[in-house]
Amino acid sequence: MDDLLSEFLTETNENLSVLDVELVRLEQNPNNPELLSNIFRLVHTIKGTCGFLGLPRLEKVAHASENVLGKFRDGELTITPEAVSLILQALDTIKSLLAVLEATEAEPPGDDLPLIERLNLCAEGKLGGAPVAEPPPPPPPPTAPAVAAAEERPATLDELEALWNSTPGPAAAPAAPAPAPAAPASTALAPRAPEPTPEPSHDLVVSEPEPAAAKPPAPAPAAASTGGGGANDGNAENATKESAVAAQTIRVNVDLLENLMTMVSELVLTRNQLLQILRSQKESEFAAPLQRLNHVTSELQEGVMKTRMQPIGNAWAKLPRLVRDLAHELNKKIDLQMLGADTELDRQVLELIKDPLTHMVRNSADHGLEIPADRVKAGKTETGRITLNAYHEGGHIIIEIQDDGKGLAIDKIKQKAIQNGMASEIELASMTDQQIIQFIMKPGFSTAAKVTNVSGRGVGMDVVKTNIEKIGGTIEIKSVQGKGSTFVIKIPLTLAIVSALIVECAAERFAIPQISVVELVRAAADSEHTIERLKGTPVLRLRNRLLPLVSLQQLLKLDDNEASKKAEDETFIVVTQVGTYTFGIMVDRVFDTEEIVVKPVAPILRHIEMFSGNTILGDGSVIMILDPNGIASATGEMAVGDVAGKETTAVQTQRQEDKMALLLFRAGEGAPKAVPLSLVARLEDVDVTSVEMSNGLPMVQYRGKLMPLVPIDPNFMLGTEGRQPVLVFADGDRSMGLIVDEIVDIVEEKLNVQLAADRPGLMGSAIIAGKATEVIDAGFFLTQAYKDWFGSGGNDGYEEEKLQRVLLVDDSPFFRNLLTPLLSVAGYDVTAVENANDALALCEAGEDFDVIVSDIEMPGMSGFDFAETVRHGSRWQRVPMVALSSHASPRDLDRGRIAGFNDYVAKFDRDALLFALQQTLTEHKGAA
């Protein structure tokens, strides 16, 4: 059977049994609006789902019933026992239709006109207390005389009494309602018996009412198999309510699962203790069975966990079809996009948000999106788009429902609010749009001009809100007139499983949700990170930024008698990010990460915003879960962090974000040194004893080849023993080792060489990690190892008044990284891309350059092709181009010129390149 259908059957049957009970209660308390609106919603849901599944007959009955209930709700009709009976009868009809539907997977043919007519009459108030002219269709089976009697005429209490007494079994109860308002004694008649099944139409395949005992034991499985077959409904008569559907899935109370999980957790703990004992005993006959117990327990735990978690996609499964049908019905074109369908949600949460989501998607389709003609008029595509997006964020699950329709009509909402007496005009005038939008969440509110059978009855958004708030979530509406609206549902992680970092502070342990932890830093007297204080406020220098620190101990007012001593010499900093605000939480120790199930804290502790919940760890101890959001808002302005973060990296060149990873190290005298990390192939630790001398140079055997070692300081002498850190540079099959004293760190910054150095081997100085750092010229050392790796060294900058922008196209990261600093030190503003396509994309994007330097041999589009493309009609056709190639034969030069290059330079000759660039630029300027 279709999943959708079987789910519908289960759900609707459940709703029907609730309705039975609720209606009877309603009859006894006709003035209970809560009861009434609950009933109304349930019927509305049934009607809605029937509509989407294409079950017109069911839908019509439900629609007619809903109309009557609507009148009740609006106070246009008083609740009479007759009307209630009529609705109960309609429900029974729905039940029998469902039974057939379940057996045959199709609605039975025919209609229920007599019933619907009577419902409509009732809705118009004509059915009042007057007897119905026409008796209800065919005399119901023996179980239902009471119902029939009750609705046909106002029965006297005596008659009812008699009827009741004469009716066998539990089926009699519903008869009683007749005297309800007059005789409160009728409370004795509740609750309604489950299955009096009056047969309103002839062509139904009759389903036997309960009790189950009356059935032969076989039919359920039989029905299940034949039901799957579809056409074969020979067994239809036997297929009673709980056949096919019930046989395949079991609905289990979530409390039961919760309990089960608790027990499993206990089992896990006990197992852990047993294993602990086992470990201390070398040989034990318990070892084997314990191993087994171990495995079984693990699997059990996993299984139970699985029963709780479900991807949100399950709740969305219905939506594509729903939207498709809606689109059809409303003559709209709708494209439904679903992102993040595998975001896992606790089953309980999933159940609770399923209906709200359906409602909201339906609303978006019905109210939000315009009909194609209007969309075209508004300059949008004919097809409207509804996007569902689910993801985890900051310990919450966020679900966005977005449409690109007309947005919420503020004016209409205002009007409606006045109409419904929810607010006066004056009140509305002082409200912001955001406040006005909130009205759509109030019960009984609908802006749809006409009540369609899709939506617009004013149930919906209030249901959505109630359901979401029930699980502690929030819903936010953003709407732009003419652009569409977005509903953002935020569900706290309360019920979800999260990974958390366990830390210790003042001998207490806490969990921090891993999701907001960026990194961990150890700060101690002997490490390079130390905590500094600004008027007592602790801060940490982290990669050239000041990180505000929060002492967990102070924040939580933990007393620090014995812990304080320890805190002095070693502190761990949990770098945490909340939105754009990054801060560090100071803790004493960091343990492992653990998967935890977040449990809400006791109500008396809910006001403490530092905690998002608590949990039980693997060792059985209870631990509080810190809420980074709460800590952030308790400790500082959210905005400060991200402003401070950017200003230090501001550079003189126009464009930002071109950060480069730099390797910091020490070698020889003076300032720390840096080299672009991407130039470095590997970091090695060479055993000094393995260094050999060859050709006057120290060498090591490295990966089957000889690798020359070059010291940065020419006077450097290798020691005779110990280990020596070496930066390995490699290009193609050649490699070279640069001997350094100590590798310090890797930082990511825009390399902005400020001073051109006059010492060979140095490209210049730059501020890196807040310190003046010498940027080494890797090229210089490469030529020391292999004379032919490049041309000659030496470095004279070619100054320009204003930075010339150079586009460098080269597939080798090595050369890009080498040339970028080289050219920028020579006063160019360099943008490096790795292939011609990227370069052309920049051209498309509207970037402008003064000169383009391009490699020739590149995968994909070669330099020649690139030049041709640029020269033939691109925006850059007048930009001078310099070719860069290791093949610098005259033939290549000619070819390059034909392709459109202004100059041609051998790859290794940096002086020539710089010269060529300068020549080309001045020539070009002169020509322009």
Partner: protein, 166 residues
């Protein structure tokens, strides 16, 4: 605060606890040598000494939380709740676990005694002069042989908002 006969007052405040015969079962406990009682039906469990996780920033009466067979239970130091000095470290103490609207709370007391079945005749309203803190959390007093037993009202005992505002 009328002087009406006592059982009727009790019936009003905690109607379903009182049975027609006028007999009530209480779990008794002692705190600072004073006998207290809690209706037996409200008690879930009696615990010995437990490992408790402190909860920073919580009201002082909240001693922490503990794991009771996989459920997190909030431990309340009844001594502090009653305005008595905290228990000295050397005495282990015991706890009575009660359920309030689906949440479990562990009431830390000095010791837990036997279950007593008491008749309404021995019941008496709180004396007007009783410490306001005690009066707030107690429904009344039972006159026992040789001593008095204060009946604790669990919902009020666990209602901290009144403490904070006071």
């Amino acid at each position: 605060m009328s002087n009406a006969k006592l059982p009727s007052t009790v019936r009003k405040s905690k109607g379903d606890d009182l049975v027609a015969t006028g007999n009530q079962d209480y779990v008794t406990m002692t705190i600072a040598d004073q006998l207290f009682g809690i209706p037996v039906l409200q008690v879930q469990d009696v615990l010995g000494h437990q490992r408790i996780t402190r909860i920073p920033l919580a009201p002082p009466e909240v001693a922490g939380s503990l794991n009771l067979r996989g459920r997190i239970v909030t431990a309340i130091d009844v001594r502090l709740r009653l305005g008595l000095p905290g228990r000295t470290k050397d005495k282990a103490g015991m706890s009575i676990v009660v359920d309030l609207r689906g949440e479990l709370y562990s009431l830390m007391v000095d010791s837990v005694g036997e279950v007593l079945s008491l008749t309404n005749e021995d019941f008496e309203r709180n004396p007007a002069t009783l410490d306001p803190r005690w009066r707030e959390v107690s429904t009344g007093i039972y006159r026992l042989n040789g001593q008095l037993m204060v009946v604790l009202d669990v919902p009020r005992l666990l209602n901290f908002t009144t403490v904070e505002t006071a």
